[in-house]
């Protein structure tokens, strides 16, 4: 019974993952009727954060089938922005009314988006903010809907700082160094630490990956016996760090924080192995973007930047 | 004429020395005059190949000097030597099997226009070059991988002749050739001679040297031990000089074996259009020769009955076993067959592995218990084999690549001796092997037959077949065209049979 259920689940997921209801099978057919078509372009759907985001969008679409059509696309490799450029071009060729995009690169994607705008497509930027300077350079204004990564990270940093004493040694595990959200989060963490007078002894990249973060943390723990906290730029890395801390037998001394509030850290928050993470309500992020796109398309509002809520998650309010 | 002091030699070698772990060349002196064919003899490992490699820039000598028409000549690489007109045709062929005949001949100087190969010009040049070696029927666009060894050897020579060449070094050029091709090569050599080209001719074959060379130098252990005009000496003299006085070359004597049961029956074996309805049988204790021109289908027949090539129809019966066709060599081996392939480096040996690993490859189950190897037993058996076959290796752990051609061949053959094969197939068992090794391989095959194995030998050297075999089959153009015994065989009748299938057919279908 279980296996049948599982098989059906896999099958259903395949159908959903292929991104379209049966009526949308003909990708090249022009969109007819009044319902606008919105293309959601994500980063890797293999990343839990983005798959959650996509699921949120699909749910929203299911509840509003009459109002709009939705096409969801993800890419294989987080850092391969050329794949995203191809997707943008495909969507423009499909003549969608709006593209809601989580850019893989803050700069390199802009020329393709400009071409989309020139073709009359409304573009909404979610999650990872496009570089404002480049936008000005090409004379483009694209509304941004997303969380303030800096603020979220600062909240997490402040929470952990309250558990430490001034002058304690802390370390930061960064994401991919070139990613804007990694930079913002690390800036937030650093600001919180500096404000609280903590001593940041090391800050290295874990490439967003659990295994890499685990190795980095193990090395940090060996090198700095007095380490009191390791702050991570996402939850996946926080899981790897927790394992490294446990392996070194210093779970009681070293605090770990994450970011994203993924399902796997829920239990960790409850048992205190991760003291804090930040929920940026990923499932609602794309929905916000879609809603703004719909409202602009309907002529109800003009495009403008919107900051979405970021909430600190700690033990008492863990799910 | 070559002793005339007024004529500058094309190539002069003075006190040339080279050593690796031990000296391989000691103070060699040699001259090649314009229009001279200078033969170089010596057992394998005497230093012939090293000398040749130095002359064409592949090896740098440790001492001594070279002069090219009186000017100092120190080639650092193959191109230096080629520029000076010194070109070598290697014993181990260097053709690229995925390229065409024309591309192989002109590989390093393809006619081009703006980076594109100029096909028409290339084809024209290739046709010319092929005509020069008598392969005028071969299409320049043929892929080399589809050609037999003999044709490939001629191609190498064609490639060398297509260059501006003043000194040509031929290393065992006739090893893979049939008599007709040898005659063709010799007429080419004579033509080059007339043009004033000097030729260094390395070979083991005394009759060839006597017919083509005017002077011969004999190497032994890296030193030049004798030098004389070829007319002055008899074969035993060569052998004595090469082997240090004592003659190891025993004139073969055909011993009449008593044949017992039939161990191999081949009926109407066909491989596409290349082998057509070949039938014969082989008896226990018999050595059966398979003669024919290169490309007549001898090798293919061997491979087809061994299961290395899929036969299209026919049947093969080994001993008391069931009739049928083998689809994989492992089936043939399980049925009691063994095969010594023609190209030992490519088809038989694991060059980078030790003598032991090579020698025991087909007999691992004997040296193991439930899949676990007994290395001690392997060593023991390898040592025994080395003693029996006089394989010159330091230890069983020496890599086969370091052995001379003759010793390599003995390892390839020795692999089958530990298991009692009912049928042993040998394809050119003495190709590129020195005279001493050749004699011992012959003796070995006779012993194997005396123990009851049926031996099938493919050879392009008729004298080898005459001395070795009880019976000779002749193939021509994929068919069996003759069967002879010692009572009625002669070079003439065998040649006649070998050309029988060609009288009406085209040459292309042969190559």
């Amino acid at each position: 019974m279980r296996t049948i259920l599982f098989a059906m689940r896999v099958l259903a997921f395949c159908l959903i993952a292929s991104g379209c209801a049966p009526k949308e099978v003909d990708h090249n057919a022009p969109v007819t009727g009044k319902t606008p078509c919105i293309a959601l372009i994500m980063k890797s759907l293999a990343n839990e954060f983005f798959s959650t985001m996509a699921e949120g969008a699909r749910k929203h679409h299911n509840d509003n089938k009459k109002t709009y059509d939705l096409v969801v696309n993800g890419m294989k490799n987080e850092t391969d922005f050329s794949e995203q450029v191809t997707l943008i071009e495909q969507m423009v060729a499909r003549s969608v009314q709006s593209i809601v995009i989580a850019p893989a690169d803050s700069k390199a994607i802009i020329p393709a988006l400009k071409r989309a705008r020139d073709a009359g497509v409304l573009v909404i930027n979610i999650d990872n903010r496009l570089d404002p300077n480049v936008l000005i350079e090409v004379g483009l204004t694209i509304p941004f809907v997303g969380p303030d990564n800096w603020e979220g990270a600062k909240k997490a940093g402040e929470a952990v700082a309250r558990m430490l004493t001034k002058g304690d040694s802390v370390a930061i595990v960064e994401g991919i160094p070139t990613a804007m959200n990694s930079q913002e989060r690390c800036r937030g963490l650093r600001d919180a630490m500096n404000d609280a007078g903590m001593n940041i002894v090391s800050s290295q990249s874990g490439q967003w990956e659990m295994e890499k973060a685990n190795s980095i943390a193990a090395a940090m723990l060996s090198e700095y016996p007095s380490l009191k906290a390791i702050l991570c730029a996402n939850d996946s890395m926080a899981l790897g760090v927790v394992a490294a801390v446990a392996a070194s037998g210093r779970s009681a001394d070293v605090k770990v924080t994450g970011f994203d509030n993924t399902s796997a850290v829920g239990e960790m928050i409850v048992n205190g192995r991760i003291v804090a993470t930040v929920d940026q309500h990923g499932d609602q992020l794309a929905v916000h973007g879609i809603e703004i796109a719909l409202s602009v398309l309907a002529g109800n509002s003009t495009p403008k930047d919107t900051t979405t809520a970021v909430d600190l998650v700690m033990r008492k309010d863990a799910r | 004429m070559q002793d005339d002091p007024r004529i500058e030699p094309l190539l002069r070698v003075e006190n040339l020395s080279k050593r690796y772990a031990s000296p391989v060349l000691r103070e060699i002196n040699l001259e090649i005059m314009p229009g001279e064919v200078h033969a170089l003899m010596g057992a394998n490992g005497a230093g012939k190949s090293t000398l040749a490699r130095i002359l064409c820039g592949l090896t740098i000598p440790d001492g001594g000097r070279l002069f090219r028409s009186g000017k100092s000549f120190a080639p650092q690489n193959k191109r230096d030597a080629q520029t000076a007109g010194v070109i070598m045709v290697m014993q181990e062929l260097n053709l690229l099997s995925t390229l065409s005949v024309a591309e192989n001949i002109f590989l390093d100087r393809l006619p081009q226009r703006a980076g594109f190969i100029c096909q028409q010009q290339l084809t024209r040049m290739a046709v010319e070059a092929l005509q020069r070696v008598g392969l005028s029927d071969l299409l320049p666009s043929t892929i080399v991988g589809t050609l037999g060894m003999g044709v490939r050897q001629l191609l190498e020579i064609a490639a060398a002749l297509a260059r501006r060449c003043q000194v040509l070094i031929l290393d065992e050029p006739t090893a893979a050739l049939t008599q007709r091709e040898v005659d063709l090569l010799f007429s080419n050599i004579r033509r080059l001679q007339a043009d004033g080209v000097g030729i260094l001719y390395i070979s083991h074959r005394m009759d060839e040297i006597r017919s083509i060379a005017s002077r011969v130098s004999v190497l032994r252990d890296g030193a030049c031990v004798a030098q004389y005009p070829t007319g002055d000496v008899n074969p035993n003299q060569f052998i004595r000089d090469m082997s240090g006085g004592e003659s190891t070359f025993v004139l073969p004597r055909v011993k009449k074996n008593k044949f017992r049961s039939t161990v191999l029956t081949v009926e109407k074996l066909c491989v596409g259009v290349r082998i057509r309805e070949v039938s014969f049988s082989l008896r226990s204790g018999e050595i059966l020769g398979l003669a024919g021109l290169v490309g007549s289908g001898r090798t293919l027949t061997l491979r087809a009955l061994f299961g290395a090539v899929r036969a299209t129809s026919g049947s093969v019966t080994v001993g008391e076993g069931a009739s049928g066709l083998f689809t994989h060599p492992s089936q043939a081996v399980a049925a009691g067959m063994g095969m010594v392939p023609e190209d030992r480096r490519h088809d038989a040996l694991l060059l980078s592995q030790s003598v032991r690993v090579n020698a025991t490859l087909s007999t691992l189950p004997i040296h193991s218990k439930r899949g676990w190897l007994n290395v001690h037993s392997e060593r023991h058996s390898t040592n025994r084999l080395c003693d029996r076959l006089k394989i010159a290796c330091k230890t069983p752990e020496q890599t086969v690549d370091e052995l001379s051609g003759g010793n390599q061949q003995k390892v390839s053959l020795g692999r089958w001796l530990e298991r009692s094969c009912e049928v042993l197939l040998c394809d050119e068992p003495t190709r590129g092997v020195d005279a001493a090794s050749k004699a011992s391989i012959h003796n070995l095959l006779r012993n194997v037959a005396a123990e009851g194995t049926g031996v099938l030998v493919v050879s392009s050297e008729l004298s080898e077949l005459f001395s070795l075999c009880d019976r000779i089959l002749v193939m021509s153009n994929g068919r069996m065209t003759g069967e002879f015994t010692a009572d009625n065989w002669s070079e003439e009748v065998i040649h006649a049979a070998a050309f029988k299938g060609l009288s009406t057919a085209h040459r292309e279908s042969v190559t």
Binding site: S215, A247 | S330
Partner: protein, 316 residues
Amino acid sequence: MKILKDHGDTVGILAVWILLVLLFGVLSDHFLSANTLTTLAGRIPALTVIAAGMTLVLIVGGIDLSVGSVLGLSSAVLGLLMVDWKVPLVISAPIAIVVGMLAGTVNGLFTVGLRIPSFLVTLGMLEICRGAAYLVTRSQTKYIGASVEPLASMLPGTTFPISFFLSVGVVVGLQVLLEKTILGRHIVAIGTNEHAVRLAGIDPRPAKILVFLVCGTCAGVGSLFHCARLGSADPNAGSGMELAAIAAVVIGGTSLLGGRGSVIKTFIGVLIVATLEAGLAQIGASEPLKRVVTGAVIIAAVSVDVFRRRCIGENV
């Protein structure tokens, strides 16, 4: 002296490792400590078993690019079984291993049966397994927790985790297989000259399929060690690990062309790769510098090996 003669290359590469350890000992205050060694022993088991399996594949003349993804898929299956279906480790671990074994067998069957280069088959398998891993977990990291961690806990009386000893066991086992069994001899022989092996009356196909099977199985075993160390099953687990494994194998002197190699030396290769990573992190090197140095060490280690072989007159 005899040891030096017979195992000169092993000693040489071991020296490279020791040199690296000493170098980091100088550069960092805390590197030369029991703690570092324990950490190292904790992080290498997965890479060790995968590189050990990869060694056999390279020796037989193939390549397996799918190992990282197979590890990801096995991890995903383990996570699904243990977290969602609450299956105990003793049952789910063998299933995870069997998943790896199946992937390896498919690799082998296609490579050998259809004579497709293993590079292409395993490249396809890399994509299939990674995709399947995402499907199985719905792209979510599964937190398994304490039920999987016993594998990574210290062997009583030592400061090394159980997984480390198990992985060393795999290394020794495969080395023995390679040196002492007919199968091992066939593997080496096929890698040297498959054509000659065939004409020597040995069917090379079973051995080749088996090698890919073993390699896949190793990836399955690696997934257990990986999950045990991290306490979680991550569908992204092992991405890029195939390259780290190939690097370790090549540093260990195994030829990419087949026919030559040793699992023991691969293990030292793994030590070198892991030490480098740990050491660079401990001295706080920046990400770009880490990559440059790691690449340089791979090239240097292989060059030293090639140079040494040339010196003793071996054909490379």
